[in-house]
Symmetry: D2
Subunit: 339 residues, 4 copies
């Protein structure tokens, strides 16, 4: 059987992750070409995984009739344009998040997917995490009864540079976007209103750049449940990623993963592992799984597990949160969607 031929646009950190997954973990697919505006980076990544073609121009992927699917791993502002062009060129698309920073372009991307009938999966990899995924399964299977309350803790081990924080669109779009998607995934419901709190407690330069580094956002879901997310740009003990879903029949909660289960007991206390350091450690298996399911969706013409609706709603929530913080009031999602 001919393997699914994949082109990767963007040879940065996440492009590398996906190239590795496809090469080593998905026998039914292979990377056919890698492009990056920095051609040396594309070449280096291609060589690492034995890929024979690379280029500085992503159109080379679009124009290659052998290539079936494109992974959009370029910088955020280019996501939507490349995804749209790829679908119009007949390719299936896996697009990293956020799809775009404007609602309009995300909606445009959705329309093109609709029109072309191409698969379009958004890179919310955390849905494929073993812990979060199990919690969602328990909720979906009804083990928790009616869902009433969702709690998500998401703290990075170290803050980004103030420059990055300033240019990234801010914490709500850059960091909490994952948690917004997770919240809707766990609740099995969209959000109708958010209320955002935020402060700059970690690094004053982040505050000076107009962003927050510590945040709590509450959520009202369409199905009546309530939710709350807390984020911090810095956790001294490592990458803190926990979710909790509470319902009429019980609660499911996931703890962090450590590298080992070993406990050292001495006169000082009983010490166990810190959470695994950061997303490349904690979420590596989830990156493989999302790619595995994207390939399956293409090969067997199934629905993708994370569609453009998730891509849209996560950005909408981020915008609503930002507006809520600025106007110091709860903001309805309809205010953003209908703006």
């Amino acid at each position: 059987m001919k393997k699914l031929q994949i082109g990767i646009v963007g040879a940065g950190r996440i492009g590398n992750v996906h190239a590795k997954s496809v090469t080593y973990s998905i026998p039914e697919a292979e990377v056919a070409m890698i492009t990056d505006v920095n051609e040396a980076a594309a070449k280096k990544l291609a060589e690492t995984y034995g890929v024979s073609k690379w280029s500085a121009d992503y159109h080379d992927i679009l124009n290659d009739p052998e290539i079936d699917a494109v992974l959009v791993c370029s910088p955020t502002p280019t996501h939507a344009d490349i995804a749209i062009a790829a679908m119009e060129a007949g390719k299936h698309v896996f697009c990293e998040k956020p799809v775009d920073l404007t609602i309009e372009k995300i909606q445009k991307t959705a329309e093109v997917a609709q029109k072309t009938g191409r698969k379009l999966q958004i890179g919310f990899n955390r849905r494929f995490d073993h812990n979060h995924g199990r919690v969602q399964e328990l909720a979906k299977e009804g083990k928790l009864g009616n869902i009433e309350l969702i709690k998500i803790t998401s703290r990075d081990p170290e803050p980004p540079s103030p420059e990055y924080a300033a240019s990234s669109g801010g914490l709500y779009i850059d960091m909490m976007i994952h948690d917004f998607d997770m919240a809707m995934f766990l609740a099995g419901s969209d959000v109708t209103e958010v209320y955002a709190m935020g402060a700059s407690l970690v690094d004053p330069r982040i505050g000076q750049a107009g962003d927050v580094d510590t945040a709590i956002v509450t959520l009202t879901f369409a199905n009546g449940a309530l939710g709350v997310i807390d984020n911090s740009r810095r956790a001294a003990y490592g990458y803190d990623q926990r979710v909790e879903v509470f319902g009429s029949l019980g609660m499911a909660a996931g703890e962090n993963d450590g590298d080992t289960t070993v406990r050292l007991s001495t006169a000082e206390g009983v010490v166990s592992d810190k959470p695994q350091f950061f997303f490349l450690e904690r979420y590596m298996a989830s990156f493989v799984l999302e790619m595995r399911q994207f390939v399956d969706a293409v090969l067997h013409d199934q629905d993708v597990p994370v569609g453009i609706h998730a891509g849209l709603m996560s950005v909408v929530l981020a915008k609503a949160a930002k507006k809520s913080l600025e106007e110091h009031r709860p903001v309805k999602i309809s205010e953003i969607l209908e703006a």
Copy 2:
């Protein structure tokens, strides 16, 4: 040495708890008299603990020159009046929470305490819980660095009757008051603003009675930290009482207590204990400790560990939360205090 002579007003559940603590766990004190408008209840409780005097009228305690201190365990609307009368009669007072449902009367109670120089301790027993207390110690000792985020989960195993919910003043004053106090205790700071969400998801009759049974309240602390409390009137797995304090150097978090540490591993999974059932199980030791410290404060003329400021602020926060829910906006504490 003559034992501290204690009078107890109110022979209900909490009066019983304190009578037991004094009798069995505090050698330096003894219960001298118990009163209750239901004299039979007073008599029965007195006999249980070998107390020789009982009465239907709390003035009998106030008029007894042998009695040094009064525990106010009567219904909420009578707390402040009895506490005031007791202090004016020269007695030290331990008063159950809430001190009163009006700001005015709590402030009046504070003034009388000030004027008479009597000890006045408020019954926020959870501060004396081994888990919560340890978390607060770690925060206070600086082990967590600057405090940035406080999270409190507090869920009752079973909802009260709709009648009780309707008459109790509502979830924020009846249930979350403990968590408001805990939040300020953990943060080492007062709250300046609250935003409240609430829904009736557990029992529709609670909603029909105008109350909520599921709630999230976010807090802004004077010291800059953020906080969030979630409450539910019903948790299928038992009484869920957890706190988490997050700061620049780390996090301290307490889990629930189970009856045992035993894990049963079978083909079905690994099963461990549910949280202890309810507050009489989980918090029993804290009731003894708060009384122990009240007796010490009186005997050695020390500051009480929980003063009237805590009694005031907890009610103020509850009122602010209620107003926030009604007006669907964040509410500053000053709006309540200066109303």
Copy 3:
């Protein structure tokens, strides 16, 4: 109702524990007299718990017609004689372990109990521990299927003085006796053979005194199950008390108790509590429960929960273990019982 009148022989640490339990936790009983060869000690303990009678001579208890039951808390060599004399004087007896260091005297004690029809309970308090007790319940209820393997870890926080170790009869009789009883309790079966290993690794003076301070003993149970106990006289992290029962349907295992459930997460790791320090902390509730059940057995003429068979077999196992170590071979219980 008249309270059960209890006499306590021996005003040391364990006498104090039982005096406290009876006074504060068992309303149906009261301490009527305390004796100790050191009369000042008896007097002091009596005053602590408001007991009006004390003496240097335990016969004063035996001769007091008001007294129903005797707690034998004196030094080991006097246990059996006092227990026998008390039963012959018509008193029910609660006897601390070991009943005696000779098989003969334990059997004599059993005969007197049989002849007089008095209750005779042996002080194996650990059976009443919440964790160990739960494991045994699960085993007894069949949740584990056929019992196949028992593991017991029992490590003291600090070694006794070499003098004590030398005079106590050695680790197997002084320390592991509790674990021998626990093993048979958990297995629901007597032991038929033991094999003992031992070394002096903690304190060379213990070895010089002819004892071991680190030991492993394996057990063969009459019901076919296998077992193993490990003991150490010193655990840097505190009092380590864990049991595990494994059967055809699963495993039940108890962890240590800490003072709190709090975990502190910092850059150094995740730190939780050490085990509670020593037996007065870990096993306090079990001392109350065993006394509670002794009083119930007397008041309602029920079987005592821990009879003289347990007192006998635990000493037999200790002797077999010692012989096994000395002769470096497995030793059958029948070799000791029929010696």
Copy 4:
């Protein structure tokens, strides 16, 4: 750089594991040929991993001058002969355990390794497990002080067929061999004496075949420490793999790995994951790591992490345990080595 060329003898389960590790996880090496007496199996495995050469005869590997190293994954009775032939053909060897069932042949293998100067690594993969490995590191780094006691629990989820049990050499050689090696690895010391208990409690046919399915073996280490291993052929809750090392400064203990950290709390209790099912799940990463280090040892001419001494001593201990069970007495290692 030319990749290390590897030949694999034996296309069964473990051959597959190593072929996968080399192909996907070790860029510096590649599988050049696979042989199996069942040529179809060799061909199938070769095709799975894109290996161009296969054969029914392992001499084809030995005769291939391009091949640098051989992985001996054939049935146990052929291990030593193939390893010896391979080393004499100039190949480095990774040999699965047990090296042989006779002491003589293992010693012969050692001599050939010595004489030829070829690398010879034995497949004790569990040393590379994240949990066990961490415990050993803590011990080796001195965090536990002087090592005093080692405990190892090793229970398979399901018993093998009685036929397999009968032909495998028995539990001590077939199953406990891993634990014997682990014990010496953790203690950093050889064993000088063993005492073995065993019973057939899981499947009577195993007993009828002359083997045991439930076993406890105690160990005396050369460094004075004591140890104990328990094995069962069946654990209803899954593959139970735990080690504990206790020393003068503390204890390190590893728990099982579950698939997730999720806990489900309902009215029935708090349920967490069972241990991962079996060795292919629990130990997969360790198989990669041992191969990674074998390749490094060859490429950089370093010592192999697990040498032939481990291969010898583990079999010696198994033989001593079997003798101990048969003769019902402790057996010195010297009795086997000098037999």
